[in-house]
Every structure is written in C-alpha cells, then in structure tokens.
C-alpha cells in the first residue's frame, strides 16, 4: 500500500525543512556563544601532580557515564536511572525519525520495533514521573517555568506517539505516523528556543568547567571514602 501524499509530505519535505531551520538556529546560537571571549587562566596550574586541563576536560565529559563522580548522582541512583532511560527514549525517537523515512526496511524486524517501543514506553513512564515530581515538589515548582512543563509534556506525548508509530504500519491507518511526524516537525522548530536545546551547550559547558577544574587540580575528583 502506498503512503498518502500528506504522509509523504510530513515525512520528507516538512521534516527536512524543519531540520534545516533547527540547524540554522543552532548555528546562530553557537556563533552567539563564541562571540563571547573565553575566560583564561594566566596563573600556573595548581592541585595534585598529574591533574591537567586535558584530564579535567575528559573527566568532565565522562561525568555523564560516571554516576559515582558527583554526590548528586551518587546519592540519587534512582534519578540517574531515570536520566538514562529518558535519554535512551530520546535516542529511540530521533532514530525513528530517520529510520521510517530513510530505512523503513529495518522495521521489518519485529525485534527492533520492540526494542524501540520498550525504550520509548519506558521513557514515557519516566517522563510522567518527572512531571509529577516537578509539580509535587515545592523546590522543583520554584525553579520551573512554563517551558519546563511544556517541554516535558511534549516529550511524554511524543514518546507515546512514537510507540504507536514504530511499527510503521500504514495498512492500519496513517493516524499514528501523521501525528508522530507532525509532532516531530513542531519539535524541531520549538526545540532550538526551549530548554531542550541544552544538549547543544552541554559539550561546551562541561568542556570549560572541566578545563578549569582540571587546571586547578579538582578534576578528577578525589575524595576520602567513608
């Protein structure tokens, strides 16, 4: 069965246009970031021998896979697990936006469809919990903006729709696929203006923080264990 012209439009030209738009805003954002001078360090390095800028940067980047490195993740393993599941869900959604238009054959594998669906369903569940937590904790409410609530809600719905769209089965109707691709199109346009674009800055903020902390001998962190 052939896909409808509308589905073709949202899967291909619309996605492409939105991706170009997103990348343009990202490019602008990076140019803007780099228009500010980086603060430098004139002093000689400090800290234990063997700590260097480079080691600090690597440690800082590797922080994402070292939940023991920070007290905040070490003491809250449940949070770290949520973080991993949620971001794996993102990988699945993004993967799906490429697989369906450019490699639909891959979805003939029931196993792959299942894996993607489980990843997105788990991320959806975590998202719902995070939303509940954001609303119920007064500390979280105090630091939340409408963008925080909206971005999280948007992703929860996207995960859900992703689960339905993953089989890429137009025989049973195009509703799920149309919804998924309209949502991803909106997502691509909205993300560069929202908190979700944090991943664009992430490598840079961690790079500079790691560089400073490495040069000053704080990274890699040493602590006296109890």
């Amino acid at each position: 069965m052939e896909m409808s012209p509308l589905l073709h439009f949202v899967e291909h030209p619309l996605q492409l246009g939105c991706k170009v738009f997103m990348l343009s805003i990202y490019a602008y954002r990076l140019i803007h970031l780099f228009s500010y001078m980086a603060g430098g360090e004139r002093q000689a390095p400090t800290g234990p021998p063997g700590t260097t800028r480079a080691k600090g940067v690597v440690y800082s980047w590797a922080n994402i896979v070292m939940p023991w490195a920070m007290e905040s993740t070490r003491k809250k393993p449940f949070y770290y697990i949520q973080f991993v599941i949620f971001h794996l869900g993102m990988v699945a959604v993004i993967g799906l936006t490429f697989i369906i238009p450019y490699g639909p054959g891959l979805l003939n594998s029931v196993g792959l469809v299942w894996v993607l669906q489980v990843m997105m369903a788990a991320a959806c569940a975590v998202g719902l919990y995070r939303l509940y937590y954001r609303i119920s904790s007064k500390h979280m409410r105090a630091i939340s903006t409408p963008d925080d609530y909206f971005s999280l809600s948007l992703l929860i719905v996207l995960f859900l729709v992703g689960v339905l769209a993953a089989p890429n089965n137009i025989v049973q109707g195009e509703g799920a696929l149309l919804t998924f691709f309209f949502m991803t199109a909106f997502f691509l346009v909205y993300v560069p203006f929202s908190k979700i674009m944090h991943y664009l800055y992430y490598p840079f903020t961690r790079y500079y923080f790691g560089k400073t902390m490495g040069y000053r001998g704080i990274y890699p962190v040493r602590r006296g264990y109890k």
């Binding site: 603060g39 000689a44 700590t51 500390h139 409410r141």
Partner: protein, 444 residues
Amino acid sequence: MTTSTRSHKVQKVLERMGKKLNRQMFGSLVACVHCGMCTEACHYVLANPDDPTYAPAYKADRIRKFFRRHYDGLNLGRFFPWWVKARSLYTDEELEELKDIVFGKCTNCRRCSVNCPMGVDYATFNRMARGLLVSVGIMPEGVAHVSKDQWEIGNQMGVLKEDYLETLEWMSEELQDELGDPNAAIPIDKKNVEIMYTINPREVKYDPRSIADAAKIFYAAQESWMMPSEGWDMTNFGLFSGDDDLGGAVARRVYEKAVELGVKKIVMSECGHGYRSTRCEGPNWAKTDVAVEMESSVLTMLRYVKEGRIKVDKTRNTESYTFHDSCNNARSCGLFEEPRELLNLVVSDFREMYPNRAENFCCTGGGGAMSMSEYTPERLKSGKIKAEQLKATGADTVVTSCHNCVDGLTDLIKHYELGIKVTQLVTLVANALVIEKKEPASKE
C-alpha cells in the same frame, strides 16, 4: 533596551552585564535545565528544607531572568518572557532584593557547581552579579567598608603600617625570648631572599601568634625569608565583592612588591580566599603574568618536614584533630591533599570529616559572609550542616588552612555549643617543632 522606565543604576547594571559576561558564564546561564540536582548540594537548602528560595537554581534564576531578557540571543525570554520567567530589571528596589540573594543567600562556595550534571557554575556568575551591584554602589555595608579599606589603606582590615610593623617587632621579641636567640627576628623588606611571606591582616589584629609561629618555622628551617612593609596583605576582597578592578589592584600590590624586592617566591599564610585570590585569580584580574613563584605556606611547611629541614614530634599535639577544607582551597585551587599529609605528620590522632576535599561543606563564613552582619542569622542557621559534620568526627579540635574559616567555624561552634577548638596547621607545626637550643649568642 529602553531607558525611560528604568532607574539609572539598573540601566548601568544591564549595560555592564554585557561587558562582564564571558563564554563560560554565558554557557552557565543558558544551559540550566532546572533538573534540581544541585538543590541538596547547598548548605542553605539543607538547613532550610522548607524554603525553596534557597535552591541554587532558584537563586541563579534571579540573575538568569534579566540575562534571558537582554543577552540570550534568540531565546524565548526575549519575545515571550513569561514562558521562561524572564523579566528585566527596572527599579533600585529590585537591585536591593538581588543584593540580598547574591550576598546574603550564597557564599559562592561552588558546591552546587561541582554537583551540576550540566557544568553550570553558578558561583561564578553569582560573583559577577555581586560585581555588577557593587559597581553601582549597592552592597552590604560591611563589603563597602572592607573594600574601601583595601583600596585606601592597602589591607582589608585597615591596619596601619606602623601598627603592622610594631606587631612584627613585638613578635620578633617574643620569638627571640622563646628561642633564646637574638638573631631570631622577623626580617623586613630584606632584598633578594628566597621567600616573601604574606599574611591575612586578621593575623596582625587578632592572631599575631600565627605570625610568630610561622617565623619560628622559617627560623628552624634556616630559610632566607622576609616580610614586606607593604604589599603584605594577600587577602583580596575583590573575590567576594566581585570587583575585578579591586581584585587586580590588590593582587598587583603583592606581585609588584615581590618583584621590587627581588624575591624568588611569595608564600601565603593559611587563608583560603587569600590563596585563591593571590595564587589562582589575581594574575587574571590584574591581567598580568607573574614572574615570581607562589605557594601556600602549607606546601612550604610540608616541604620542610619532608626534606628534613625541620624536625617535628607529633606526640606534642596531644588532642584528636579533624580537618575542614576551605572551599576556596579545595574547590577552586585543588589544595586538599597536602594539608592532610602535613597534619598526619604533626598529630597522632587525625579523624577525617565526611564529606571532604572538593565535596566538603562551606564553613558558612565564605564569600565574605563574615563581614555582612545583616545576614548573620541566616548564616548561622545554614551552619547546621557544618555543625553536624564537625560533631560526627568526635574530634577535640578542627584544623583549617583558612583564617576566614577559623572565624566562621568559631562562630558556629559557639552557636551550636559544640565545645570544639579551632586551630591552624601553622600552630600545630610550630608546636611540634623540635629545635635544638643554641648556645645563647650575644646581640651584635
């Protein structure tokens, strides 16, 4: 940026923000995802669990909100401010409110920074915000006084040159009596020596014994050293006030004196913010490369023991000791192993405090908090965490390599009735020193 509805001070703050921002700060301001992971890293939050306004991200957002309105490129804050809770500043009252947050609710300890998965360094842009307020004359009274003293008199406690020199003379006499050696004096402005020893003015005013202790150690190590008659204050209120001009001017005084006297090394007495300012930040504020080597006296003393230049007997320090890491030393300069190494060489009963090193909690006197008496009740309340940490060690004495921490801890210990003593490494090393008595030499 329309000017009509804004006060002159607000206008200046907003304009100057653009000049103060650097790439790191910009990154920290745009990258927060409001995940709340830093919340429980802050001692203010832990001591005030019901008050979300102490959360680091909440405090950071008080700065972020006007940043988003004016400097965040294409962020929604520029076009739909309510969507990201962006808001510009308009009145002097708003600046006063901001002052109470950036000075009164954060000690710039950087503990939230090392606990942020995004690498957001709130403490750094909190300092920037302090500097912006100071530039328009909005700051706690204590900050204004101390800054003025440091600009005008050359040290942050307004110690006059004659009082400083008199104290050194007095300490020299004490040392000569104690050691029975008339040559055991503190050399002043001696040229081309190895070490120029710089101190915290608090030592002159309240703790001159620490100067005599250091002199005794230099004497025992037969060091070629001296103290300068000017440029001796290695503390720097620019770190706390966020005023890079003051920071640069103060640091430059020390560097220039060292160069003028032709010394090889500047050694700083035990002071966290002094060490950080002079050793780690000063060259950047002063925009100068410093040709003279610099080190903390902790490293100097440790070297003396390791090289056998001084002998110590750890049984002379008979109590149980724990160690408090100054935030500036541990989280901004990587100075945390050497004090422990030295401590273990001069005491027999050392008990680690948890968490420690770069994860240690602030003594609550950081960020210049000791000079801001209007926030004392909040400070003491936030000290609950440190007090619990101290108590858990069961130690008689807490050792710290920071004069500010000595005051902060002393205050907390009194407030929470912990009955713990506070001391510094220099005192313990001096007490443990084994000096063979020389035959009394005649004064020439």
